[in-house]
Point group: C2
Chain length 523, copies 2
């Protein structure tokens, strides 16, 4: 039987609180520790935590915490289709969108694995018809570009995944179409994107689960106007990704419609039709399938109950130790890979929208810190930007590095005896040690205190499989942390009030302070 308890009621947590400040990183970090504090991940990746402020005793109490809070049992229940999103009375099934790691899951008599796989197949067939030229634009042009119109989870994840695979696809001959994204209700966003493509050769994907997202509907109309002005038939240039109950479903205004459902939250929808349509069109269905395979392998590895062999679980628990015992309020995501330039922005949503909450699953206020602020930029760019504060600021920010032995495109240049890829990896290695160990200097300006913890996820190359595994790792990490904090990580009630007040502004029914702000903008 599963018990949903607050973190501060757990015996292991009380023990953990007594283990603050045990590890002096600059003394602890050794070559043997770098080799030992590492666990394999799916798709050939590995999670290295040698530069985290943990030791055998802390890891052992974290294992107790995992058992006491029944983290694996809760994950298993989620996989088996229990209603984990209790606030909205919904199952949580994004893992099922990429494979089956639990029992068969039915809803209203429908096997949902079959449903998700069926949509993936429909998308694959549609993409093949676009690529073969069987489906063309309304003036007979073959489609060369695809533009996704969506916001939040319908934008950040798919966009980050597209950018992550673009150079890989180019180099391996898998690039089928160029993709762009329109998200913001700011009309300048749609103007800029629409003017960067040839409309006659462009397929638009409208993505909104509810079919009522304000930004997305506004941008849809904006694009349809442009298409009409260009003498094109919008219904031949637009497909929809939505839920079967939305106004966009089975709508003759779209060339095709693909479906997801309420059991996949927007921020977890990259593996559903939301990511599937754009990625299959851009890189081919087999690339998207490989991405799902990597994610599914990571989901399976997250079922391991030994925390030392379960990278997502271990990453989650170390993060809880840093947040709740060491008191660090933010975490930086630092991929040493230009392909992952928007991966931190995606994780910012995935993490902060899931665990940025102050009430538990029963709606009671919690008395401990929950989700941290997440931010990040790719290295080496970040080194020339905000790393100054990370090295010498007054607050400690835990770091999550990501790196690969090889670049995606393969093209490189040797300057002063080393390739750029080698320089990239050398910088990454150097930063981990610089943060952990610091350096004493008689000039206090040049003194580095060290003791700044980081983890490293690394692999040979960022392939579709590796990207899927990386994405699922973080999704599962966030899920485990939500379980530890006893939160419902799968709703987002915090976005509602702004919507309500926006409607008040637009309808003119405002309280005085809101009216004063609206007047600033001439509303």
């Amino acid at each position: 039987m599963i018990n949903w308890n607050n973190l501060d009621t757990l015996n292991a947590y009380k023990k953990l609180l007594s283990l603050k400040g045990q590890v002096n990183l600059s003394q602890a970090l050794s070559a043997s520790r770098v080799k030992e504090y590492q666990t394999p991940m799916a798709a050939g990746l590995a999670y290295n935590y040698a530069a985290k402020e943990v030791n055998e005793q802390i890891l052992s109490v974290l294992a107790e915490l995992s058992a006491e809070q029944q983290l694996i049992e809760k994950y298993q229940a989620l996989l088996d289709g229990e209603v984990i999103n209790t606030g909205e009375n919904r199952k949580v099934l994004h893992q099922l969108s990429r494979g089956q790691a639990g029992k068969d899951v039915f809803f209203q008599g429908k096997n949902l694995r079959d449903f998700y796989a069926g949509e993936q197949k429909k998308i694959a067939d549609f993409a093949a018809s676009v690529h073969s030229g069987k489906i063309v634009g309304s003036k007979g042009d073959r489609f060369a570009s695809v533009v996704q119109i969506g916001i939040g989870g319908s934008d950040l994840g798919p966009r980050a995944m597209y950018l992550a695979l673009e150079q890989w696809a180019q180099a391996s001959g898998k690039k089928k179409m160029e993709a762009r994204f329109i998200s913001n209700v700011d009309p300048d966003d749609a103007v800029a994107v629409a003017s960067s493509v040839e409309l006659a050769k462009t397929l638009f994907i409208l993505v909104s689960k509810s079919g009522t997202t304000q930004e997305t509907l506004a941008n849809e109309l904006f694009v349809k106007d442009l298409l009409k002005k260009a003498g094109l038939d919008p219904s031949k240039h637009m497909i929809a990704v939505t839920s079967e109950t939305s106004p966009l479903a089975n709508n003759p205004g779209y060339l095709a419609s693909f479906y997801m459902d309420d059991f996949i939250g927007g921020r977890y929808s990259s593996c559903s039709a939301v990511g599937g349509a754009v990625l299959s069109l851009a890189f081919g269905p087999e690339t998207f399938a490989a991405f799902l395979d990597g994610a599914h392998a990571a989901d399976k590895s997250a079922l391991e109950s030994d925390i030392r062999k379960n990278p997502a679980l271990l990453d989650a628990l170390i993060g809880v130790y840093e947040r709740n015992v060491l008191g660090y309020p933010s975490t930086a995501i630092l991929p040493y890979s230009q392909a992952l330039s928007r991966f931190p922005a995606h994780l910012q949503q995935a993490d902060m929208e899931s665990n940025g909450k102050q009430v538990n699953r029963r709606g009671e206020a919690v008395r401990y810190a929950t989700g941290p602020v997440i931010f990040g930029e790719p290295g080496t760019n970040g080194q020339h930007s905000f790393f100054q504060l990370l090295h010498q600021g007054t607050d400690i920010v835990p770091l999550q590095f990501i790196g690969f032995q090889e670049s995606q495109a393969g093209a490189d240049v040797v300057v002063e005896g080393s390739t750029s890829q080698k320089k990239l990896c050398a910088n990454l290695s150097a930063q981990i040690v610089a943060f952990a160990c610091g350096k004493q200097d008689t000039n206090p300006n040049k003194n580095f205190p060290g003791g700044r913890p980081s983890s490293l996820i690394w692999g040979k190359k960022l392939t579709p499989e590796a990207l899927g595994a990386l994405l699922a790792h973080f999704e599962n990490k966030i899920m485990f942390q939500g379980f530890v904090w006893n939160l419902n990580s799968f709703d987002q009630e915090g976005v509602q009030l702004g919507k309500v007040l926006t409607k008040k502004v637009l309808s003119g029914d405002m309280d005085p302070a809101l009216k004063a702000y609206a007047e600033i903008f001439g509303l």
Copy 2:
């Protein structure tokens, strides 16, 4: 006479500490306060702080703090050319790159305002020759694209400014050339950018003050190889922006060279030749000049000693109150303007690299928090991402909103009775009130605590002048905060250790732990 004192030695600071928690935002925010707590900025912008946790008493003590810490006197000394960057024995002259607000500043007999203005003129003449087709590529093609190669301050600021004006320029007929940016040493970055332009029609700008930046030199060679392979003469396709003492200066390998100097830090260099070359080429010299005019006007307004009439100073002081009295560890920058999509990333560097320090100007450890973590994304995108945590998370994050009455491109669409621009502004107004006032709900999941402070910078439209004023506002805010904390905001010693260790990896001379990490990457 100027005294450089730590914040915690000031009488006003001791008073300020006793004023914690005086303001209940949800009660305090009223229509009259929205009108009253606002001060005009340069270029027609305004700074509104009605939704900040301040009141008359707190503002009055902040004014005392400003006087006691001699903030205006210190700024005046900086403008007058005193050596403010004491650690590196340098003047701090980025404000002088856009106009003269203090005394004449000389170095080694040279009037530096004349020097900066002279470089601006040289760039303007060069850009005019490129635009007129007098200067063409090595195969005779007119230049259509410009690619800046630089990292950190040579990338983030110029890139953010380019994106901020791209749609404005397009709509107003000022767009002369398309710009792209290569920054990361990851070779996939250069591959992606280079493949997105026609090399024969592309001018590259190599930007490195020292002429020794590892990433930039590697990317230069990468690009030169590509140019040669395309049968083009690199020396006819590349200009340099550097210091007069660097190896890139007066080098026949470049079509032209433009200069800056050690008195302008990378993160403050958007108004120097570093931003000037790419912005003048992309949008014309008169657009760059207008941008400088806006920045200069903001610099002059920052000399006002009445904090209620000095938006940069007021913003800085309120930030200090939030950081040191209220204890908030991070700040979000939230422009409701797609054009400002990378402005938060630029401010992340400008702020965190300037004030992410734990020793004061004399090298003594300070016992108070300094620069916060800075992050942000444009609205409304952020609303569908991390705003959940901002509304309902366990930590409070102060917010800096930016918005404009009008879009840049002007194209728009009416859906459900309102334009997209109107929706954008309605969302912004709604968010400020939602954060400040919250909303009680019997369902604790839907309860919004409120009390989450924000400021708003707003204007009619994001023009070059407005952008310059906006940039200078934040630069001056950061400067004032550095003065309050008694930091040297103008060096960045925290980036050095990583460089030293990277060289060790590349030369093979490593300590065992570093070697263990390097081996992960096959180094």
